[in-house]
């Protein structure tokens, strides 16, 4: 069932049941009230009539008779009966003739009053002390209300409920349409968006309600999707460009060498260019392969305890081999006293690769100025901060630095492929770590790496 129909139905049922409940309770209480009111009227008639007939004082009897004629309307089928109460009397015969149960008379004797209903005829009885003696006065009449007014009320309620249900049904349909209209609009609009026109967005209204929140969420998702799509496209174009450049050089160089016969020196020159470019090609494909491997979940990777300070010394050693002119300084001033806090769970080879990447970048883009590498630990985290005073990264390009083959606009004079940082981030992610890069152009870059402490005991 569609949610729209469901909501309409619920709305309709709720309003209908409220109306029915209200009508039923009104009807019930009216009936109760009309019954008790009618019995009261019968009793009053009983008292007045008994006084008028049984009390023999002429004057008061006449007055009462007059009052009765003038002010008390004769009820339909009104009858009065008087029965003298003597100690030995049982009312079996009277009950028989009036066709009312004996308990009615017993109630009169016991409580001084009693009521009884026989179809539409109502009986009220009282005990009356006249001058002649004790009497049981029984008055009976037909309840006009019961027969006519209540039936009328019933009809009103029936037609009322019918009309109200039709009304609430139509209202509920309109209401549910109204509610789901914006959702339907969103569905229609999102249906229009495909890979061909990912730039389309939902029109966001200024009002801050749930629907506009949904629209904003959709738009944000589309933003991310578009970026991902573009990254994918860029990756392929960048990768093919990076791969084709050395290939073009190799082919060109070989072609030139083969064009005519050359001397040995020229051949050596050509071949060394070819070897250089081929090596570059190999480097790119190797790092691409690494990137792809680390991009997986890493279920085949072996994780063991790694001491971060030892790792950093290894990194420095590696950098010294790669780039003897580097000025890497290890800052151990905030190393924790407790060596257990320095051990993290990780794959040493991968971590070494990631950190070497970062520190090497720091050296490269600062033209071998001082690079400081610092360690600190919190209770649950190890923090490594790598700081350089190099060319920095433009602020609006910071968000692209993890895209493969992306290179910042100010890196033209430096060699590189743009694979290092995405690779590093993949490795850090594999270790449940975080990487935070902040930078100012021409002032330097700070890379902050955070790894969870491995909780190894000392030893």
């Amino acid at each position: 069932m569609r949610t729209q129909t469901k909501i309409a139905l619920i709305f309709f049922l709720v309003s209908l049941s409220t109306i029915i409940f209200l009508s039923a309770s009104v009807y019930y209480f009216i009936i109760r009230y009309s019954f008790s009111d009618f019995y009261k009227r019968l009793e009053i008639r009983g008292v007045v009539t008994a006084k008028a007939i049984l009390d023999e004082e002429e004057a008061s009897s006449a007055v009462l008779q007059e009052v009765r004629e003038l002010h008390l309307e004769k009820l339909p089928e009104e009858q009065e009966y008087f029965f003298e109460i003597t100690p030995a009397k049982d009312f079996a015969a009277e009950a028989q003739t009036l066709d009312i149960p004996l308990s009615f008379f017993e109630n009169i004797l016991k409580n001084g009053e009693a009521t009884h209903q026989n179809n539409s005829t109502f009986y009220a009885g009282i005990k009356f002390q006249s001058k002649k003696g004790l009497y049981a006065v029984v008055v009976s009449a037909e309840n006009y209300y019961n027969d006519h007014h209540l039936r009328y009320l019933q009809n009103i309620f029936l037609f009322g409920i019918l009309a109200a249900s039709i009304f609430s049904f139509s209202i509920s349909i309109v209401f549910s349409r109204q509610v789901f209209n914006p959702v339907k609009e969103i569905t229609d609009r999102v249906n229009e968006i495909s890979t061909q026109n990912l730039h389309l967005r939902l029109e966001s209204k200024k009002i801050n309600d749930e629907i506009s929140e949904l629209e904003t969420t959709f738009n944000n998702m589309l933003d991310r999707l578009e970026t991902a799509f573009e990254t994918q496209n860029n990756f392929i174009s960048n990768a093919s460009h990076e791969l084709s450049t050395p290939l073009t050089t190799i082919i060109g160089e070989a072609d030139v060498a083969l064009a005519k016969e050359r001397n040995t020196k020229e051949y050596i020159e050509s071949l060394s260019v070819i070897v250089n470019e081929a090596e570059r090609l190999e480097k790119i494909t190797k790092s691409l392969l690494f990137l792809a491997q680390t991009g997986f979940t890493g279920s085949t990777l072996k994780f063991d305890k790694v001491r971060i300070d030892q790792l950093l010394w290894d990194v420095k050693e590696t950098i010294d081999k790669l780039n003897p002119k580097n000025k890497v300084q290890l800052n151990l001033s905030l190393m924790p006293e407790d060596p257990a806090k320095l051990k993290i769970k990780g794959n040493e080879q991968l971590l070494l690769l990631a950190l070497t990447n970062i520190v090497n970048n720091a050296c490269k883009y600062s033209n071998n100025q001082i690079v400081t590498v610092s360690i600190g630990t919190l209770e649950e985290k190890v923090i490594i901060v790598v700081k350089d005073s190099g060319i920095g990264i433009p602020e609006n390009e910071l968000k692209f630095i993890y895209d493969p083959f992306f290179r910042a606009s100010n890196t033209k004079e430096f060699e590189g492929y743009g694979i290092g940082l995405p690779l590093t981030r993949n490795i850090v992610r594999l270790h449940q770590g975080e990487i935070l890069v902040s930078s100012r152009v021409n002032e330097g870059t700070i890379v902050q790496l955070t790894f969870p402490v491995g909780h190894y005991t000392v030893g």
């Binding site: 905030l334 190393m335 924790p336 006293e337 400081t372 600190g376 919190l378 923090i383 901060v385 700081k387």
Partner: protein
């Protein structure tokens, strides 16, 4: 009221008070305080001075804990933890206290109440105050507790200002 300054430097657990403005740079005092310990350990109190609001409603709902929580940034918190793990055996405890008094006597009382043995203040760094806080240095200078002034090279407007990385430079 007589005040006897606690000059017993060799006591096993001294209490050092340092003013703070919740910036990373001001934590230099924290490091110096931990560094100054030769024997035993130290209790460090980071002092923040704030003016209380005049509004009754504000005072009714005032809580020091909430105030400290609103001032301490996650980076500051992390930086404190790094220092504490570096000097784990030297720092017995470290806590942030808020002083809300107006008079020198109240400040003196505050120092005695917290059993402060020594106060470290910056020599050339001025605390960055927000609109509710005030500078405790004048009160500190007039108090009877021994004061040590710490000099350091100010970091200025460096890229890592108020990032965790700044801590490793100071």
């Amino acid at each position: 009221m007589s005040c006897v300054p606690h000059t017993n430097y060799k006591r096993m657990k001294r209490t050092i008070l340092i003013p703070t403005d919740f910036s990373i740079e001001s934590l230099k005092l924290f490091i110096e305080a931990a560094e100054s310990v030769q024997i035993g350990s130290v209790n460090i109190i980071l002092l923040h001075c704030a003016q209380l609001s005049d509004s009754i409603v504000d005072l009714l709902f005032f809580s020091k804990k909430d105030m400290i929580e609103s001032l301490v940034t996650p980076v500051f918190n992390d930086a404190c933890k790094i220092i504490r793990s570096k000097y784990a055996s030297k720092i017995n405890s470290a806590r942030i206290e808020v002083f809300t008094g107006h008079t020198q006597a109240a400040f003196q009382n505050f120092l005695e109440g917290n059993r402060v043995d020594e106060i470290l203040i910056p020599k050339n760094y001025s605390l960055q105050l927000n609109k509710e806080s005030f500078d405790p240095i004048p009160f500190i200078r007039k108090s009877t507790i021994p004061i040590t002034e710490i000099h350091w090279k100010q970091t200025g407007n460096i890229p890592e200002k108020n990032q965790l990385a700044e801590l490793f430079l100071i």
